[in-house]
C-alpha cells in the first residue's frame, strides 16, 4: 500500500510504453475473454508477493513459501479457474511495471490511486475496507485528526505511500517524518523521535503487536477501500466481469472477512483489539 519513487519511475516508464504500444495496436474488435482464456490455458495465476507486508503476504522463514490473506484469496481464485498460483516476488514500487511487462495477472490490496489507474485497471468493487490508523507510543492521548494536527506531534509515514498523502492532508501542522520502509518507521518511534506512525489498520495491528504500541483510529474515521488490480490490456473485460462476480460473492457471504479473521488468528493476532467503531 505504498508508492515509492520507484513506482513513479515505473509508472512514467509504463506510460511511455503504453503510448508506444497504442500507436501500433490494430483497431479491430477483440475477444473479451482473451485474458481469462490466456490465464486458464497457461495453468498459472501469477500473483505478486512482497516481503515486509505481513500479514497480507507472509513468507515462511524457513521454507520460503508464501502465505497470508492475499495468498488465501489468490488460491481461492486460482482454484475456481483450475490453475495454480505462481508467486512473483516484487515491490509496491515495481507493481505497475510488472503489469506492463505481463509478469503478473492480478494484484490485491490496491488503494484507489488515479495516477496508477492510468496504467493499471482497478476493479470497481472493493474486496474489503481498510481504515487509516496510527500506532502510538503507550500513553499517547490524541484521538482525532484535528488534535494530531499540531506542531508538537511527530508522525511517521512511509515515503510515497498513501499514508503520506493522508498525513499531509489532515495533519499539515504536525511534524511529519518520512521514512523509507516500515521497520525504519518503527525505529523512529523506538528512538523516541516520533509519537506515532500512520498505517492502514491491518498493518497497524501487526506493527502494534510487534512493538507494543497502541492502535488509535483517529476520528473522523477514514475508510480506505482495498481493491484488485489487473493489467490494462485488450480482451480483459471477461476477466474483469468474472473477478467482480467473485468479489461480490466474497463480500455477500462474508467470505473475505472470514479469511481476514482466520489469517490474523493463524498469525497470533486477536482482531478484538480493533477499535469497536471499525468494521471491514
Amino acid at each position: 500500500m505504498k508508492f515509492s519513487f520507484m513506482n513513479k519511475l515505473a509508472s512514467a516508464f509504463a506510460a511511455v510504453m503504453l503510448l508506444t504500444a497504442s500507436l501500433v495496436q490494430p483497431a479491430a474488435a477483440t475477444d473479451p475473454n482473451l485474458v481469462l482464456d490466456r490465464i486458464r490455458d497457461s495453468g498459472e495465476l501469477r500473483v505478486p508477493v512482497m516481503i515486509g507486508e505481513e500479514p497480507g503476504y507472509i513468507r515462511d522463514r524457513d521454507s520460503g513459501e508464501w502465505g497470508g490473506f492475499y495468498m488465501d484469496w489468490a488460491n481461492d481464485i486460482a482454484g475456481i479457474l483450475g490453475v495454480e498460483v505462481v508467486p512473483v516476488e516484487t515491490t509496491w514500487g515495481n507493481l505497475a511495471a510488472d503489469f506492463q511487462a505481463k509478469k503478473i495477472d492480478i494484484a490485491f490490496g490496491l488503494n484507489p490511486n488515479p495516477k496508477r489507474g492510468l496504467v493499471v485497471d482497478y476493479l470497481s468493487v472493493p474486496l474489503f475496507t481498510d481504515a487509516w490508523a496510527i500506532v502510538a507510543k503507550p500513553g499517547f492521548d490524541k484521538k482525532n485528526w484535528a488534535d494530531l494536527n499540531d506542531p508538537s506531534v511527530s508522525l511517521v509515514v512511509q515515503k510515497g505511500g498513501t499514508m503520506q498523502v493522508v498525513a499531509e492532508a489532515l495533519t499539515p501542522k504536525a511534524n511529519i517524518v518520512v521514512v523509507e520502509d516500515r521497520p525504519l518507521g518503527v525505529l523512529e518511534m523506538q528512538a523516541g523521535r516520533a509519537d506515532a506512525m500512520v498505517l492502514a489498520i491491518f498493518d497497524a495491528v501487526q506493527v502494534a503487536k510487534q512493538t507494543g504500541g497502541e492502535i488509535i483510529l483517529p476520528a473522523p474515521m477514514l475508510l480506505n477501500p482495498a481493491t484488485i488490480g489487473y493489467a490494462r490490456e485488450e480482451g480483459n473485460e471477461g476477466y474483469e466481469n468474472w473477478l467482480t462476480n467473485w468479489v461480490n460473492q466474497q463480500r455477500a457471504l462474508g467470505l473475505a472477512q472470514g479469511k481476514l479473521h482466520k489469517s490474523f488468528e493463524a498469525h497470533g493476532i486477536d482482531l478484538s483489539i480493533l477499535p469497536p467503531e471499525f468494521s471491514f
Binding site: 515505473a10 515486509g52 522463514r61 516484487t90 509478469k103 520502509d181 521497520p183 518503527v186 525505529l187
Partner: protein
C-alpha cells in the same frame, strides 16, 4: 541497546544472501572483464567505425545509473519485444554490461600508457597485431591495471546490492527481509556492512600482494 541475537538467529539467511552476492560478483566480474576487454580493443581499433562503437558502448553504459539499467533490462524487454527475461538474467546482463564499461576504460587506459615503441618493436619482430597484444602489451599493461581493476571489482561487489530492487535475494535483500520481521534494522544492516568488510579487506590485501609480486 543492540540485540545481536537477531544476527545469530538469522545467520542462515545472511549466509544465503552472501552466497548470492558472491555468485553475482564473480559471474558479472568475469563477464564484465571479458566484454570490457573487447570494448577496450574496439576503442583502440584503427578502423574508426569500430572505435566509435567501443566509445558509444562506454558512454552508453557508464552514464546511465545502474538502477535504471537493472529496471530497464528486467522490464523493457518484455514490454518492448515481448521477450520474457528472468530477474536473474536481467541482473547478470545489467551488472556485466555496466561493469564492462568501466573495465573497458581501465583496460584501454592501461594499454595506452605503454610506450608505443613496445608495439613497434613487436611488429619489427614480425608479430601480428594480435600476437603483439597478447604477448607483449597486455601482460605488461595488466600489471599496471591491477589497482584500478581491484578497485572496480570492489565497486562491482557493492553494486550487487542494487539487485535487491529486482528482489534477487542478495545480502541487502536478506537484510531488508530480516528487518521486516524482527524490526531491528540497525543490527541487521550493521552486520551486512561487517560481512562486506570481512570479504573486501582481505581481497584488497591480496590485490596489493599481487601488484607487488608483479613488479
Amino acid at each position: 541497546m543492540f540485540d545481536w541475537s537477531i544476527i545469530t538467529q538469522n545467520a542462515d539467511l545472511i549466509l544465503k544472501g552472501l552466497g548470492i552476492t558472491l555468485y553475482y560478483t564473480v559471474v558479472t566480474t568475469a563477464l564484465g572483464l571479458a566484454i570490457g576487454l573487447l570494448v577496450a580493443l574496439a576503442q583502440l581499433a584503427r578502423i574508426s567505425a569500430i572505435s566509435w562503437i567501443g566509445l558509444l558502448f562506454v558512454e552508453f553504459f557508464r552514464n546511465v545509473p545502474l538502477l535504471v539499467w537493472l529496471l530497464w533490462s528486467y522490464y523493457a524487454l518484455p514490454i518492448f519485444l515481448d521477450i520474457n527475461i528472468s530477474k536473474q538474467l536481467a541482473g547478470i546482463t545489467a551488472l556485466s554490461l555496466y561493469g564492462a564499461a568501466y573495465y573497458a576504460e581501465i583496460l584501454r587506459a592501461g594499454i595506452q600508457t605503454l610506450d608505443p615503441g613496445q608495439t613497434d618493436a613487436a611488429r619489427a619482430l614480425g608479430m601480428s597485431t594480435t600476437q603483439s597484444m597478447r604477448r607483449i602489451i597486455l601482460p605488461q599493461a595488466f600489471r599496471r591495471m591491477i589497482p584500478p581493476l581491484a578497485g572496480q571489482t570492489i565497486i562491482q561487489m557493492k553494486n550487487t546490492t542494487l539487485l535487491s530492487v529486482l528482489t534477487i535475494p542478495d545480502l541487502l535483500y536478506q537484510a531488508g527481509y530480516i528487518a521486516s520481521f524482527t524490526y531491528r534494522p540497525m543490527e541487521v544492516y550493521t552486520a551486512i556492512g561487517v560481512v562486506f568488510l570481512i570479504i573486501l579487506i582481505p581481497s584488497n590485501y591480496l590485490a596489493r600482494k599481487l601488484e607487488a609480486h608483479s613488479q
